[in-house]
Amino acid sequence: MTFLLLSALTLIQTPSQWVLDSSTLRFHVSHPLHQVDGVSHAARGRGVCQARSCVFLIAVPIKSFDSGDSNRDLHMLQTTRGGQFPIVTVRTQLPEGATRSDTVYADLEIEFAGQTAHYARVPFHVVMDGDEARVSGTIPATISDFKIDRPTLLTIPIKNEIPVYVESTWHREK
């Protein structure tokens, strides 16, 4: 799941669109025998700024995550109901003047595995460079938020917490 942030003061006041150039999304799964990271670079995103706010949508196919083991990735696909719900989406809206600092707090609406979960005030670090923005942060997702059965290995289940680390680069379209 990718999430982008833009310096609200700079871009919200001017009608504009933002486009996701590149991203790295990494989910982390903990098990006593294994620590697993699944990585995707296939996210797509766009932001539309209106009078008083910017609306963002980011989406990534679940199949695009690679943990280094195709058997595990297929099991993850099955467990997260990826056959029926192949895309993870993240929506957020930033009000005008959301922040004047390098850290933006965003309320996220995430659709995953056929469920919708809300995360309030998730901090993201933003670095502006002209019309380019680099955004990074961690989404504190859990398996139970999306009503997913916890997978097991040798009858031991994985941890409920599956934080998602986000790094993304955006550019503004005029």
């Binding site: 539309v48 706010s53 609306v55 083991d69 195709s70 058997n71 297929l74 099991h75 929506r91």
Partner: protein, 272 residues
């Protein structure tokens, strides 16, 4: 007197006309919601009478509800706009004296199509999910049976160290043979779940699973050869002979098979 009477008459007639007009008017109300079902407060609601372009505007309240009273019969264009959503426009026909309800669900400003995803990419498939479910279920059975098989396999190897040689008894050999048969039965049952689990098209096989599958080419044939050689050795010993010929390879093949089997379990259990 007559002027007063005509004045009263005009008032009465006017009142009657007015009440008739009011009875002919209606109220349009409704609730504005987001795709998630959440209400949308402070949405701008515009109602334009198509006949003459007369427009009435209002906003939804905290509960997402709007209400536009005193509408004459006719066609209207109902437009709803809110930040973060696409504007919505529908045509509503007001009927004389009838109050109507028109709920509006707004669409998000951005959709997956705006990101360049095709319908095929975003559309899920119950059939594919069923295939994934069946695959996971069968591999889960394979995993559990495989772990269970390790127990009689270990017992077979241990009893095998006492089953060979001249000083062994037929009882020891019988126990070893029974354990071996049990191991073989569980092994091939476990293997069948892995072999016949549905394959998922378009998947590139990579990671520890490749080693796990490669080791199967060692312990698979070994699980066939070991009982065959074991049966030959059993027959020789039962006739009072020393184990000789190809039957003497039984223990070596069995140990290699067991080692490959153990490595196969470890390849998908531990991170190397």
């Amino acid at each position: 007197m007559s002027s007063r009477a005509s004045g009263c008459t005009r008032v009465i007639l006017f009142t009657l006309a007015l009440s008739g007009t009011l009875r002919a008017q209606g109220t349009l109300s409704g609730t504005v919601t987001a795709p998630s079902g959440a209400v949308v407060p402070n949405a701008k609601v515009s109602l334009k009478r198509i006949a003459d372009g007369l427009t009435t505007e209002t906003r939804t309240d905290s509960g997402g509800s709007y209400k536009v009273p005193d509408l004459r019969p006719g066609d209207y264009e109902l437009s709803v706009a809110a930040e973060g959503y696409r504007p919505s426009t529908v045509t509503v026909t007001m009927v004389a004296g009838v109050n109507q309800t028109n709920d509006v669900q707004l669409r998000p400003l951005l959709s997956l199509e705006d990101l360049g995803f095709s319908a095929a990419q975003t559309r899920g498939s119950a059939e594919e999910q069923a295939r994934l479910d069946k695959r996971s279920h069968m591999l889960k059975v394979h995993q559990r049976l495989g772990l269970i098989t390790a127990i009689p396999l270990a017992a077979t190897v241990i009893t095998g160290t006492f089953a060979g040689g001249r000083a062994t008894t037929s009882t020891t050999r019988d126990v070893h043979a029974v354990l071996g048969s049990l191991t073989a039965g569980l092994y091939f049952t476990s293997a069948s779940f892995a072999i016949f689990a549905p394959k998922i098209p378009g998947t590139r096989v990579h990671g520890p699973i490749r080693l796990h599958k490669a080791l199967a080419w060692i312990h698979g044939p070994g699980m066939i050869l070991t009982p065959v050689l074991g049966a030959m050795a059993f027959a020789q010993r039962s006739r009072g002979e020393r184990v000789h010929g190809i039957a003497s390879a039984h223990s070596v093949v069995a140990v290699v098979t067991a080692a490959a089997y153990g490595a196969s379990i470890l390849s998908v259990s531990l991170k190397f």
